[in-house]
């Protein structure tokens, strides 16, 4: 009787599991039906919220990307600011900017976006402690000037203030959002074409079309946003017909998806090998040059990235067309590699980087260096990167993160007291040049200064650019009108459509 019971129990359990299979089949294809009228778009998004979508965190890009929030200005493809919630701006003196607001804009909660609301929203951002990254180190006052204008006064001259205002961290939200001023809520408080109606923990969020959107009726009925951290799973979901847009598809999944279902966007993001100048071996320019020469001829973009990246020409990618005519670096003379142990570090969050580290380490060993590699999660390593613990670091760095201003990026990464100086590079002349460029209002002059500074750090082999990254969106049949924003901000707009 008992073995029969064991059998029966097992059989029941197995039957239970098997009986779920058809059940599952019903669930997954439910919204393939219905071809007329606006559709709901399913979007598999790579980054899980860290702070419940608070704009004062990296989550800011999430709500901006799905069209829930908007900023006063936005970046065009070349990185210059253009009108968004503000229709124009004027610099009345070195420290004062006057912005004209777009008329007829209402928040998703029905209140009007007037000058009071905008000034209030920005003032909350300036008062946030810690300050949002785009406002770090600034001091500004925002006041309403009538109903349609706001005035921003900065403590010191800030030529890139408008670029700053394009940061999704400075999204304009209704007064209702600031119940907790340190962590504003973006649920139903933005101005964009899609309203976040619910955030389900770190799993998903639901959005519906904002019918009173100032830019016209949104083309979709809504968005089902799922947070899927695993890149291979996002690609699998697309192939299984369970999502319409898969963000950041890994290179090895492009072939199974098919190139006609991929939207590739070149980014202002460069993977570089930083040689730490405080290192015993790499403090010597001749050693740095020997290490650089050992990597000449590696086709990382064509192999490890399977052609889904571009070989690096410098720190600035093809997005920055102004850097195309850069001069060739003047490298120092190479010496025979020293037989002292060097540590090469990178992080595991992007799987390609560990593969690059393995290849670089092997090339260096063949050239005569003694190399050890360390790969951990980024969050575990950042303080060691900045402290110069490792001799060399492979880093994936976007220079378009906050202001999209090349001078701010160079100052953070290559000036003596820069906040993100992994190379531990220090050159007083370069510091002075960058400080001078930072005061320039003319965009062209700033870009030329950036090219000159890039020439200095490349010629010194402080950093070896490896590849320029792209982001790949996997698209289901019939998805059209994605923003294709090289600044990794806008993704879904009022014009994005899907026809099943």
């Amino acid at each position: 009787m008992d073995h029969a019971r064991v059998l029966k129990t097992s059989a029941i359990a197995t039957a239970f599991v098997l009986s779920l299979l058809p059940l599952a089949a019903c669930g997954s294809d439910s919204d393939a039906a219905g071809s007329d009228g606006p559709q709901t778009l399913r979007y598999a998004y790579a980054f899980t919220p860290v702070a419940a979508l608070s704009p004062y965190s990296d989550d800011a890009v999430t709500s901006y990307g799905v069209g829930a929030t908007e900023t006063l200005a936005k970046l065009d493809a070349s990185g210059s600011p253009e009108a968004s919630l503000a229709t124009g701006w004027e610099q009345t003196d070195a420290r004062t900017w006057e912005l004209t607001l777009r008329p007829g804009v209402t928040f998703q909660d029905g209140t009007a976006m007037d000058a009071q609301a905008v000034a209030g929203s920005l003032t909350h951002a300036t008062e946030a402690d810690p300050a949002p990254r785009s406002l770090s180190g600034t001091d500004l006052t925002v006041t309403a000037d009538g109903d349609t204008k706001v005035t921003i006064v900065t403590k010191t001259a800030d030529p890139v203030l408008i670029q700053r205002l394009t940061s999704p961290e400075l999204a304009i939200l209704s007064a209702k959002a600031y119940a907790d001023p340190a962590s504003p809520s973006v649920v139903g408080t933005g101005t964009g074409p899609y309203t976040i109606t619910q955030l389900n923990g770190t799993t998903s969020a639901d959005l519906t079309a904002n019918t009173s959107y100032w830019g016209g009726q949104p083309a979709l009925a809504g968005i089902e946003l799922s947070f899927v951290a695993d890149g291979d799973q996002r690609a699998s979901a697309l192939r299984a017909g369970q999502t319409d847009v898969a963000q950041a598809v890994p290179a090895d999944q492009l072939e199974p998806i098919g190139t006609d279902h991929v939207l590739a966007v070149p980014l202002p993001r460069t993977v570089s090998l930083h040689l730490t100048q405080s290192s015993t071996v790499f403090s010597d320019p001749a050693q740095r040059e020997a290490s650089r020469a050992a990597l000449d001829g590696l086709d990382l973009a064509g192999t490890i990235y399977a052609g889904a990246a571009d070989p690096a020409k410098g720190l600035f990618s093809s997005v920055s067309t102004w850097a195309d005519d850069r001069p060739t670096p003047d490298y120092p003379k190479a010496a025979t590699p020293q037989k002292q142990k060097i540590t090469l570090a990178t992080f595991s969050d992007r799987p390609e980087l560990a593969e690059i580290a393995t290849v670089v380490a092997d090339q260096w060993r063949k050239a005569g260096f003694d190399v050890k590699t360390v790969v951990q999660e980024y969050n575990q390593m950042e303080s060691d990167y900045l402290a110069g613990t490792y001799d060399a670091v492979i880093m994936s760095r976007s220079y378009g993160q906050d202001t999209a201003d090349p001078i701010s990026y160079l100052q953070a990464d290559f000036s003596c007291d820069g906040g993100y100086n992994i190379s531990r590079f220090c050159d007083k002349t370069l510091d002075a040049d960058l400080a001078k460029a930072a005061t320039q209002t003319d965009v062209n002059a700033r870009n030329q200064a950036a090219v000159a500074a890039e020439h200095v750090v490349l010629s010194d082999v402080a950093v070896i650019p490896l590849i320029h990254d792209r982001t790949q969106f996997g698209l289901a049949d019939g998805v059209l009108g994605l923003a294709g924003d090289p600044w990794e901000r806008a993704v879904i707009t009022a014009k994005t459509t899907i026809s099943h």
Binding site: S28, D230, L300
Partner: protein, 586 residues
Amino acid sequence: MSRGSAPSGLRSVPGTFATFLLLLVVVAALPWLRGEDPAQTVLRVRFTARGDDPAAVEALRRELDLPSSPISGVLTWLSHALRGDLGTSWVSRRPVGELVGPALGTSLTLAGTALAIAIAVAGLLLTPTIRRGARSGPKPRSRRPGLLSGPVPAALAALPEVVVAVAGVLLFAVTWRVLPVFGWNGPASAVLPGLSLGLPAGGLLARMLSASAEQILTEPWVRAWRASGLDLRPLRRAVVRRVVAVGAPQAVVVGMSIVGSSVAVEKVFSIPGAGTLALDAVLAEDLPVVQAVLAGVVVVGLVAAAVAAAVHRVLAVPDAERAAGEPTHRGTQNEGRRTAWVLVLTFALVVASVGWFRNGTATDLSLRLAAPSLAHPLGADAVGHDQWGRLAHGTLLTVSLAAGITLLALVIGALAGTAAGLAAPGPTPGALDVLATVPSNLAGLLVAAALGPGLRGACLAVLLVAWIPLAVHARTLASEARSAGYVRAAILTGAGPGRLLRVHVLPAVLGPLLRHALVRLPAAALGIAGLSFLGLGADPDRPELGAMLAAGVGYLETAPWLVLGPAGILVILAVLTTSSARSAQH
């Protein structure tokens, strides 16, 4: 007799609480161990690549109200927690209860599903053994030992969960389109994660219990019953009861390891479970969340352990009391099967030694993901390493480390478990059950914080977790042995504690425990692998089976040889060790 009487139950309470408190303090000491300011870490999680920003760190430090020492931090936290206030997350600023409650619920559902599947799998695999054993004794010489009680469970137990998960997604979601790829809504989304965790766990459970079942089937009362020619059905029922009694505490350990340690599977399916929450919180030094998850997992684990202990008590005692006389361990050996394994082993050794002379460290990007060919018979990986050479070097490294860890875990587990089993008759939940709930990744991160990342730290972390299931098993076996009639008879006839231990208890504990330990050997290898994947184990360019597996799983579809090699070696290793354990025991 007064089993599980008040005194022994009470005695374990202070010990349990002290262990729990100690764990909390160790976890709370994380920022001090790592020597890094939590404000800096939290800032980094909120804003990546922000770099040095002393003003922002200072502002955050004011906001977070950081404790001045781990102990004062834990005491403040506990006093608030007892009043129902778990605090707010340092990273997301959401109430900790809102984060931890749903995550624990999700993990419990997932672990329950996986455990149900594991028990079903184990039941299916054990049925023939029990059925035949009750009829004619365990595996008589004339019969081949059942595949289902030896190699199959061992192979299942060695399957890496992530490989099952990814393969399941490719088959059931992408190819047949019947199951969801990700998410956590409705029973359908529990099937693939449940199978990924349940199949290996079922193999493990079956392997451990088949050892117990065979032991029980050799006991004199079973032989007497069989010889008497009475109806066999009550006998089978009694054997199943005993197997369930031994299995219940083990099932709890398996279930708890799923609650806290299934991070990889949770990540693959985007399941917002406790494992991921704990890992992310530890990485971010988000102490309020870490402490609450740990407390939640410990409470759940203690409740589950108490239920298992009750099951054990209700089912085991009457039968154990029925037992009388000296058990005899029967030799069971099968020459044919042994020859087969000698052949497999010889083949593996030849393959490995040839591979040893191949270069497994030179990269060649032109060979990226090259399929098996004459020049590279096992193919090449994503950076063009020769897979054969890499496998040979990796096998040696991983197997020797795993074997060392397993041996140490066996010794510690046998000593601690036997002592616990003899001290408190009947497995009362105690310090061991608190420790059994510690997620393995958490142990890894703590050790890495103290020692720095590296293989040494990874081995220590795996050992810290690996001895606990063995100790729990040893405790169950020891208390069973102690309550057996022949042992109590020996006590009555004046046998001293030393003789009791040497002659009666240890032999009953060591046999099944040795087999259990050997079944877990691949798990130790996978444990190192899991930590390597987090960057806390071997250097990424060093050949190590687990790291190879972790790097290869993303290419399961385009370059399956990257997974088949290391996974195959782990399965062969598991099957070999269990069959050699069988020989060793007899």
